[in-house]
Amino acid sequence: PHSGVVKRRSKSQSYRRSIRTCFGVASGLGLTPALTARRMNTSRKAPRSQNITEKVKPEHLELLVKTEWQLSYVTPLYQFRHTQLKSYSRQLSAFIAAEKQEGLAVEVGGLQNTFKVSFSVLQGLAETSDDPETVLIQVQSKPMFARQEDPPKTVWCGWLSCINGNPEYLQSLPKDFTCLPLFCSKGAEDLSSLVKSWLQRTFDCCFGPLDINQTTLQWLAALWTNCHMETNIQNLKMIWTLPVLPPLQVTYTVDSDDVLDLWRSTRESSAEKSREAEDEVCIDFSEVTRFMQGLMSHFYRHFRVDLSAGELNQVSSALGSAKVNGKIKISSSRYLISIFSLLTECALLKMPI
């Protein structure tokens, strides 16, 4: 059925298809997504410091850390080939040139003196065998009044990735599809939308904004706190907004040792029962909730302000910062993988089917 050959489908087949797509036995993805609503994992492994420099090239790592990325989710790409990146670079260069100068046709593969796009594989970020390799897209441009010998400057950068993606979901996709659900970008907004619209047209995918919701922010706060056992996170900073008039913004900064104490005490009560478990330390969401409650009740005791009535907007530590509007910055490459696993999960939750 993948050949695209057209036959008149009889209604009985159509009936069967309807039934099948409803109960999802024949096609893998049909597993009636709605019937089995995907939910966020309630338990995840504690992040462990990884020496990622062995896997990922240092120049790539340098690109990834210390920049603030705007997050989006992407539906699976159709007919994407990691082997054709050169051709994509040519296409996208021409596309940007044509869109920038509306009404002027542009030869694909011709010499572009304004924007030069390069697609490349960012090796080493994929964790499991189901994860497709991360794809890095860079747009370079020469400033208008640059001298001849000046190197072109990177004006836009973005990458598509899937780190520790849900294997069930990934395996259920037909092989024409490549699932790289997390899209991070930085650079001018108009270039972002041009790149997105090209990807949309070329791989029949859709882009939507990926916000980092309350639950994810709480997870990040707990995960980063947990890292303090190995790496100094200096302090944990949270920003809340409270729905009062005038709006009240609360910046709540806790010293790293204190917050770790609190975290340990929340962990201890539940840790006993899983103490005998293997060396993999797992964190349950109930612990995260209790941890947050601890932080909030502490605040209430001192300031008589109940933070649970408000909204957590931002979490940051020495390891990075995350904002509710989908902006994230990672400052240390050591915990990169676990943070992006979490974000990949969030992106996969946004998939329409």
């Binding site: 309807s18 709605a34 539906t75 596309f95 044509a98 509306e102 002027l104 329409p352």
Partner: protein, 749 residues
Amino acid sequence: MATQLNLSDSDSSDLSDQSVFTRRSNRSLRIAEQERRKKEEEDPFVLALKYFSEVEAGTPATGNDELENNLVRVEKVAFSRGLSPEAISVMLDFAMSLRMGSSPCARVLKCLLPASVVPQEAVVRAIVWLTVRKLPISTQVLFMKWVLTVFDMIDAKDKLRAIYGFIFSFVTDENLCPFICHLLYLLTRKENVRVFRVRKLLEQQSKLGRQPYLLYLLSLYKVFCPELVTLSIPSRMKSGFKNHISPWKSALIAVQKRNDMQVASSISLAFAVRDKTASRKRKHAHLDLPSLNPVTIKEPQAAQSSSRKLVPMQQIQSFAQLLQNMHRIELPAQMGSLLGSSLALQYLDCVQDESALLRLNFWLGYTLHEEFLFCSDGGANKNPEEALQFLNRLLSVQHFLQEGFNSSDAFMYKFLNVWDGSLLRPQILGLLSNIPVIPSSQIKTLLFDPLMQLFFTSSLFFKCGLIECLNHMLLKWLTWHSAYALEDDLDISLNSHTSINITLSGFKDSVMELVHFVGRLASVGLQLEDCHSLLLSFILDFYETVCDTFLKFGLPLVVMPPPGVFYPAFFAADPVSVDRLAFIMHRYKVNLTSAKRQEKVTEGFHISRQTFREFNRYQVFLVNCLWNSNMCYPEADVRLSDELLAKSGVPQFSTRFDLIHHPAFVSYALDFHHKCWPGRKDTDLNSIKQSKPWNWYLEYLFTQGFDGLKDFVQNSINQRVMMAGDGCDNVTQSQKLGSAPHIKQPLLS
């Protein structure tokens, strides 16, 4: 023909057309030869043509009376009847070869009005002359305009296409370029699009600037070979090529009208430029359908052989073309674009590629989620008009395909939980009714729980709407079932070993769940809304579907309405509801009777005894009330003691719901009474119960349009044994089936 697709298939037809033409022209030439010999002297037009074909090169034009006379003769014919193909050929050759210099050229060109067709060879020859002789620029342009005007009338295009490269070489000519581009646009096929041509056009673009004609031609190139060129057409430039046909237009139409020919459609360019105005308004345009674009990046191995023959969907302009190219249509780059045109929808119905459908579902699911669930830019609340249009389109697509998309179903299951019951209600209910069968294990969480909440917390109109929607849903499920069971010749008692993944019993369970669910909604809804007759009417609609499941849809399942629906319908004050209830009971009876017959024949076919019992109970109640003036509840689930009823103070309470005293019919009884005994002063309705007036009364009721009642009475009540006397007291034992003479064929078994 200009708008028709340039496909290799059309070659053969072109060729055959042409051979027919040449044959015909050969013959007509032969005849003309003979006739010319005869009429040579008398026909001045033939003489004139002969003059133009034979005039020697270099003959002076100025002051040449002979030329003037002959030209006037040709013009006269041209503007009245149009010129024959041969005449066109002769005159065009004369003009373009500059045999008498360039001065008569423009005049000749202006009178080249074809009566029927333009021979292709003449055009090709003229184009060749274009390079050989030095025509004034204005004449060159005039010639090109003429070609574009009569393009649709050129008898074949294969030879013109063969000199595509030759014609292309004129694009470097600044004056001719706009017209050449237009002509090329009409002639271009996939194999004509080459890198060097793209480069030439781009070179021209850098020389001449942003010219629409270059852009349009390049945009066609892009359609065929998106891997070579890319461009974006500004919205102000979307009118297409300018219409160059003005000098001949009116004259040509006049000639064609006179010749009673079908007026050739003016050269209209099917030039699809994306309408950007709508998307400009919004920042995130989720709700815009993607435009039909061909795939940019082709699979390398497929590129060589097969893709050469593939036709981009964008190029398909008519249903005929769709049929012709059905086997080699290339799916567009974005599947969502197929929802945008009705033609593409026809094709979508035939698409079997799982991946293609999945792409469509991803896009659709994404759009619905972003707009209605994630609401990243305000969603449906902010732009209700667009959301409305989008959902209407989706509904019409689903209606056309006669099935839903699983992404929209998945969306519905989520959306029902957050829906307020009023946002875009008709559309949402429409989508809801398209939801396919849900297994009975999941139907509660997915459908019933959210709907129950919505139903009990919203207005009467929502309740009616929801019942109607569930009725449609049930109808669709049943129709699916009957279509499938019939087409595959599936024995309805067969189960689980078929290729479908839902067994017959699974399907029956789901249908039963749905019917019971609506029964619960209806019972409580009627109580909440004080048995509103509008709601009751929608509920009875639903049971009109339910009572016929066996006979109409072949599903071995009969579900009776709950008491909460049956009794309110029976006690309703409007006769329509009672009449419909009687009709429904009649259909139940017909269904159950034939199911019973089936049971004896087919192994494993079984209708629950409980259903028969429930039916009998209702039936006896109905007959006793309406007929025997006896309100008794056989094996009743609800029972009022006689003492309690007596306390109400209503005299003869047991007769209050017979056909005469039933509040729905009492006005008819009164009317009948007046008609029957016009002289009587005191009204005694009981006198209708005499056997003769009773029969008349029934006849009278039937003439008032109570067909349901009529069916019910004629099928369920033994007419021959009529009410004997008062009939009120002596039939108390009638609840025992069979002993009552008033009920035919008890079904209880």
